[in-house]
Symmetry: C2
Subunit: 408 residues, 2 copies
C-alpha cells in the first residue's frame, strides 16, 4: 500500500491493523477441488432452511411493515426477553431484557465491549493462542495485547496472575481479559471450573473486566457444562457474548451481549453510532423460531451432527497421524489443535498440503506473540466425511515424510 | 449512572458519548395517539413487501445454503458490481467492485470511515446543524467536533475555509469534513454546485478527507441532481456513503461505502473486527431486486409518494403557521426545518405540543455547539395526511399563542 496517496491520513489504528490472516487463508484455498479443514464455518447441511423459509414467508406476509422497518438499537424487546429467560435457565439469575443488547454476531459484541472499556494503551489479556476477534477489537481501540498460555484446561490462570502483577508493577493499566471459555477457537480447550473461579477472583482483586466470548456454548457433545463466567460473576465484571451463528444460521449475523444494565446502556450508545440497529427481519425470524420450540431441537441436532464429525476426524487422525504429533479431543465446538513434532514448521506443511489440494489454518496467526509455528488448526465443521478421510490421510503422510526427512 | 460500580473502568469515549437525543425523543413520543412529525423513518406503506416476500421465498428454497451462510467482509461480489455500475451511471467514472464495501446501513459506513481516518483530537468539521451520525462516529474516535454554519445552499464553504485556517493556526490537526450534500438532515438543504467545487478545493488545499453521507441521493422530487462530491473528486479524498434504507427497506440494514481501493481495503479490515460481514440474506435479496429492475421502479414510486407528502405538509404550513416563522422547501428527502420567531424556545413548544399529542424534534440536538434553540425539525415521511393536517394546525396555533403571549 506504499503508493496509497492517503497513507499519511490514516488513523494510527488503521495503520496498525492486521487483516485477518485466517480469512485470507480461507479465501486463498476456496478452490472447488480443495479439501479444506481450514474454515470454521458451520455446515449448511444443518441450516434449518425449510423452517426459516416457512417462518419468513408468513412473517413478511403478515407483518412486513414491522419486519422491514428500523428497530430499536437495543433490539426487539420480546427477543431480548426470550434470550434472557434462556440465560436464566443456564444458571445466570436475575437477567432480563435490560441486560441484553442484540448484536450483529458476537463479533459486534466484542467490538462494542472493547469500545466501552478500552482506552489506547490499556492492556487486554488474551489467550495464547486465541481467535483473532478479541485481539482485533483490542487493536482497533489502540490497546496493548498480552498473551497468556492456553493449555488443555483453558487459559492458565496462574500465569495470568503473574502477568497481571508483572504488567502492573511495570506501570501498565491492565483493563480486561478476553477469553473463550468453551471449546476455544483454535485449541478446542474448555476452561476448568477451578480456573473459572480463579479468573473471577483475579478480576475482582485487580479491578478488571472479562469479555466472555461464548459462541460454542450450546455445542457440547458430552460432559457437564461448567457454569459460565457470567454465572459466577458477583460484581458485574463479566460481559457475556453469544452468537446464533453455530446453532441457528450465521448469515443473519445475530448474537447478543449480556451484562449489568449500566454496561449494556453504554454498549447500546456505542451501537447507535456503529450501525444504529441489528437487522430486523433476522430478529423477528429468530424470535418465532424460538417460540415454536425449534431452537432447542436445532441445538440438539447440531450437537449430534458435529459430535459424529468430531469422532470421525479423531478416528482418522488416530489412524493416519504419527505418534510424534499431538492433539486434543474437544468436548464440543468445531476445532482440533495439532502440535507438530518438534519444531516442524506448519507453514511449510501448509504449502505442501495445498499442492495436494488439502488446506488447514496454521496456528501462528492465533498467537499474538507470533509463536506457535509448529501448530495448526483443523476444523471438522464444514468438510464431508469423504474429504475429511482423504485430507487427514494426506496430512498424516506429509507429516511422516517431513519427520523422515528431518531424521535423515 | 453515578451508582454504576464499573463507572471508573469505562473508556474515555464511552464516558463522553452522548446518547442520541433524537432517538430518545422518538421513544418518548411513541404513544399510539401521538401525531408524530418527529421520526425520520420511511413510511412502511411504501415497502415492497410483496416483491421481497416473493424473492426471499424463492432464494431461500433454491439457495438456502448460500443465503444463510457467512459471506465475505467486503460483501457479495455481484452486488458490489451492480452498485458500482449504478454509480458509474451517476457520473462517477471508473468505480468497480474493489471500490465498494457493503455496510450495515450508511451508519456503519460513517463509523468505519471515522475509524480509518480519525485519531483522538483530530478535528472533524460538521454542519451546524447536522444529523448526529457524523458527530457520534467522530466522538467514538475521540475526535474534536467543530460546527460550520449550514444555510439554504448547504454548508457555508467560506465559513468552512475560515474555520480551517483558524483551527490550523491554533495548532489543531484538521482531518475531515462530514457533510450530507443532498436534502440534509435536518435542514433539507442541498449543497450548491459552486460550494461542492469549493469544498473539494479546500480538501485538496488543506489535505483533508470528506465523508459524503448521501442517504437521500435518490429521493429528489424536482430539479437536476448536482454531481456528487465523489464525482468531483480528483484525489481520492471523498468517501461516499450510501444507504438503501430510504429507497428499499431500512430493516435489512444495507448500505455501502465507495472510495479509492486503498481506503476501502482499510475499511474492510476495520469491518472484520466490527461485525465480520453484512447479513447475507439482505444482500442476496437486494441483488435480485436490482436484477429484476425493481429498484429503479421503487425509487420512482418513493419519489412520487414523498413529493406529494412534502407538498401537503408545505401547504398546511403555509395555511397554519404565522408569517414570523420561517422554513425551507426541500427538493427531496424527508425534512423541513423551522426557525421559530425571534428567540422562541422550541423545547417549551415541544412540551406544549406533546400535551396535545403532537410531536416533533427540537433543533438544538443537531447543533454540536448547543445553539439552535429556536429551531425544530418536521418530518413528513411517516405521518398520514390526516394526522399531518391536525399536527400542523396544532403547532401553528401553539406558535401563534406563544407569539401573542410574548407580545403582550
Amino acid at each position: 500500500m506504499s503508493t496509497d496517496p492517503l497513507e499519511h491520513l490514516y488513523s494510527r489504528q488503521a495503520t496498525g491493523a492486521q487483516p485477518s490472516v485466517i480469512r485470507d487463508i480461507c479465501a486463498l484455498v476456496a478452490r472447488p477441488q480443495m479439501r479444506s479443514l481450514a474454515g470454521g464455518w458451520p455446515d449448511p447441511q444443518k441450516f434449518p432452511v425449510q423452517a426459516i423459509g416457512r417462518i419468513s414467508e408468513q412473517l413478511i406476509a403478515e407483518h412486513g411493515d414491522l419486519l422491514l422497518q428500523y428497530g430499536s438499537t437495543e433490539g426487539l424487546l420480546d427477543l431480548r426477553t426470550a434470550l434472557a429467560r434462556r440465560m436464566n435457565a443456564e444458571g445466570i439469575a436475575g437477567l432480563d431484557a435490560d441486560n441484553l443488547v442484540i448484536t450483529h454476531g458476537s463479533s459486534q459484541g466484542i467490538s462494542l465491549a472493547a469500545q466501552v472499556f478500552l482506552n489506547p494503551d490499556d492492556v487486554l489479556l488474551v489467550g495464547l493462542p486465541t481467535y483473532f476477534g478479541g485481539p482485533g477489537a483490542g487493536r482497533a481501540r489502540g490497546a496493548q495485547l498480552v498473551g497468556v498460555n492456553v493449555d488443555e484446561q483453558g487459559m492458565d490462570t496462574d500465569r495470568l496472575q503473574q502477568e497481571i502483577k508483572r504488567l502492573k508493577s511495570a506501570g501498565h493499566r491492565v483493563k480486561a481479559v478476553y477469553t473463550i471459555p468453551n471449546f476455544q477457537n483454535p485449541t478446542g480447550a474448555t476452561l476448568s471450573l477451578e480456573r473459572r473461579q480463579q479468573l473471577i477472583e483475579l478480576a475482582e482483586t485487580h479491578d478488571l473486566v472479562i469479555f466472555e466470548d461464548d459462541p460454542y456454548a450450546d455445542l457440547r457433545f458430552e460432559g457437564q457444562r461448567p457454569p459460565s463466567l457470567k454465572a459466577l460473576d458477583r460484581s458485574g465484571r463479566v460481559i457475556h457474548l453469544r452468537s446464533l451463528s453455530k446453532i441457528f444460521v450465521p448469515g443473519m449475523r445475530l448474537g447478543w451481549a449480556a451484562g449489568d444494565a449500566g454496561v449494556i446502556r453504554r454498549m447500546v450508545v456505542a451501537k447507535q453510532f456503529a450501525d444504529a440497529t441489528t437487522n430486523t427481519p433476522g430478529q423477528y425470524i429468530l424470535l418465532e423460531f424460538i417460540r415454536q420450540g425449534l431452537l432447542d431441537r436445532q441445538i440438539q441436532e447440531n450437537t449430534d451432527f458435529y459430535r459424529a464429525k468430531r469422532d470421525f476426524m479423531l478416528e482418522q487422525m488416530d489412524r493416519h497421524f504419527p505418534a510424534e504429533a499431538t492433539w486434543n479431543r474437544p468436548q464440543g465446538g468445531f476445532f482440533i489443535f495439532v502440535h507438530l513434532p518438534g519444531d516442524m514448521d506448519a507453514e511449510m506443511l501448509f504449502h505442501r498440503a495445498v499442492e495436494r489440494n488439502v488446506a488447514f489454518v496454521t496456528g501462528s496467526p492465533f498467537f499474538v506473540d507470533g509463536s506457535g509455528r509448529n501448530t495448526l488448526r483443523l476444523s471438522y465443521s464444514q468438510v464431508s466425511r469423504e474429504d475429511m478421510e482423504i485430507a487427514i490421510r494426506t496430512l498424516g503422510n506429509l507429516i511422516k515424510e517431513q519427520l523422515a526427512g528431518n531424521n535423515k
